[in-house]
Point group: C2
């Protein structure tokens, strides 16, 4: 493996954010050097990402990590490998920042994978061994994956009366063709800057196929909003984009998701953050997001045909009960009623089910009615 | 199920393509009416999409359908259901075209799913029952899915010195930010028109993560090309876009795919078409596409580390042998050698493996070297 790290002087215009991240990586390395210098056993303390170290912050209304950590020691046979991997990932990210380049987690894996000299041992056997270490580094350095110059798969699109600058290109999101503006996986301020916005709110829909119906019907023009989708569970880039639009431009976020446990869960992640990425909640969660639909009562309210019912399976029922017990749902009566009614119905509903009324029922009737009456689940 | 078909007079500016498709749907319906009028049993003949009805056209170098058909009769207990579904899908597509709207295959399923009056029978039980009927209609009417106003999931992006018009919006693909222009699933002439192009060729890469490396390194600017990806196996929209760019703008297409059976197969589909969509080959296949890499010999040629090898599993080996036997590969010595060498190597290589040399090795060394020597697999 040839590491061709350019000297830092090649990148005089490094951003403040990059300088901060490099500083954190250096601090991590320094603790190791200091331990060694003092003849002590080197270690790193990694904040614990287990369920027991996650709590719901009632006042901020987001999922947060607790203060529990796990120590990883070099001179401990059970920990030496993960210790080595931790420092290796940190050095890989340093290399990326030094070079001013980004890569995928797959790319980082290949960048770092090699046979350890004088052994037949690989630094990483599989991607699965590398990914959790990347998350360890994120949380240890208090740096988002994006700040480590790593990106996830691109997914999600947006359209609406907003102009932004992405990597120096001015993007008018109202003139991006039928596919819309593809939301990149890194949308931090140094990549994406908002320029001009006249939208009044954001409608976030679950799937691209639903998004497309709204775009084709020019819903965003009629209702003066930004229309986004995340291709199912929205990836980090989409969540971060929603977060920035919501906080920097003060735009309310309404979510249109399937009436099923998966839809509830997506809403929960957008609103409070996820257990696994609890350390990123404060930069991604949108506690004021609102659930517009589909609701369990929509089957009756919209007089849908029995043909559109999808029977709940055992997994759905189990998952729905689990979600109802989440701290952030358990004290909310309307949500308890919502989930109970779905279980009582015995079926779930996809947003596409509204097509059985009319192909544009969802854009011309359903969502406008919900917005007008202003009754959302919180 | 309330079908609100607007009268056709609502859409005076219907495109030539839509008029043609409507004509085909009417012809289909007319044969039924005529049979009934003559007191004969109504039927429809559906071109057979089985492997036995597919052949490789040596002179056109694409996979084509033969002339075999299957008859579907109304008064045949085994066929009545699929007969009904066939006409139902045709009428659903007519409704979409009449309304000037498009939907997903999921949307069409919901549009058409209902309990048949006076019975407890559903028109379709599941999406799986609807999808093949959609393909039946495509091939019967000789209309692409897009012409039936149906779209697949969006996937794929492009960037480069080309300006096009998409749904009335002018899109400069060199100024679309870090995510590029999101290739829509419908790219027919009435939606997408090419305006100005200075690119000399197309580099198509398999995955968005690889595409992103090329985009970040501004490869397309340095080499004056259009850069596309299809998110793995390219969806119809991407294949159709490549086809149009290749044929209308005379741009050569070079493919950079993984060195594994899946990469070979993707190439084969781009070049000759697929068995399942054989009826669309002539509008999608690009017989002059070239395979740039990764090659099995790249492991040695690029002096890659053993760490990047991914051992072939049984499935890979079986698939590789199958692909080697395809009519369109079997007589090509270089391809036989290519596949043999992969089997002999005993491992596959992802494009990302080149990162182990240097993060930009693929954009600065590998692809420029292949383009310079001009040696591609055909």
């Amino acid at each position: 493996m040839a590491k061709k790290t350019k000297s830092t002087s090649d990148k005089p215009n490094r951003s403040t954010k990059d300088r901060k991240t490099l500083g954190s990586i250096r601090d991590l390395a320094d603790t190791v050097v200091q331990s060694a210098g003092r003849g002590r056993e080197p270690y790193v303390d990694i904040p614990s990402r287990s369920l027991s170290n996650v709590r719901f912050n009632q006042s901020k209304r987001i999922i947060e990590m607790g203060s529990g950590t796990n120590r990883r020691e070099l001179f401990n046979l059970a920990q030496a490998r993960s210790y080595m991997q931790t420092l290796l990932v940190a050095s890989g990210c340093k290399q990326l920042i030094d070079q001013g380049k980004t890569t995928s987690i797959r790319g980082l894996f290949y960048l770092l994978k090699h046979t350890i000299e004088g052994t037949s041992e690989e630094t990483f056997d599989t991607q699965n061994e590398c990914d959790p270490v990347i998350e360890d580094i994120e949380v240890s350095l208090d740096s988002m994956r994006e700040e480590l110059h790593l990106y996830a798969k691109n997914a999600g699109a947006m359209v609406g009366p907003i102009t932004l600058v992405d990597s120096g290109d001015t993007i008018d999101c109202s003139r991006m063709g039928s596919g819309g503006y593809s939301i990149p996986s890194i949308v931090e301020q140094d990549i994406v800057q908002f320029k001009k916005n006249t939208a009044k709110f954001i409608l976030h829909v679950e799937k691209d196929t639903v998004w497309r119906r709204f775009n084709e019907d020019k819903f965003w023009r009629k209702h003066n909003c930004i229309l986004t989708h995340g291709g199912g569970q929205p990836p980090r880039g989409v969540r971060r984009m929603l977060h920035r639009l919501h906080h920097e431009l003060k735009l309310p976020v309404y979510c249109l998701l399937d009436n099923d446990p998966w839809g509830y869960y997506i809403y929960s992640v957008i609103k409070q953050g996820s257990i696994n990425l609890a350390y990123e909640s404060r930069r991604m969660a949108i506690p004021d997001a609102r659930f517009l639909g589909l609701r369990s009562l929509d089957y009756g309210r919209c007089q849908l045909s029995p043909s559109v019912q999808i029977k709940l399976n055992e997994q759905d029922i189990k998952r729905a009960r689990q979600i109802a017990q989440y701290t952030w749902f358990v004290n909310k009566k309307p949500w308890q009623k919502e989930i109970e009614l779905m279980l009582k119905n015995g079926f779930k509903l996809e947003v596409e089910a509204l097509i059985s009324k009319d192909i544009s029922y969802v854009t011309e009737q359903y969502v406008p009615a919900r917005l007008k009456e202003g009754e959302f689940l919180d």
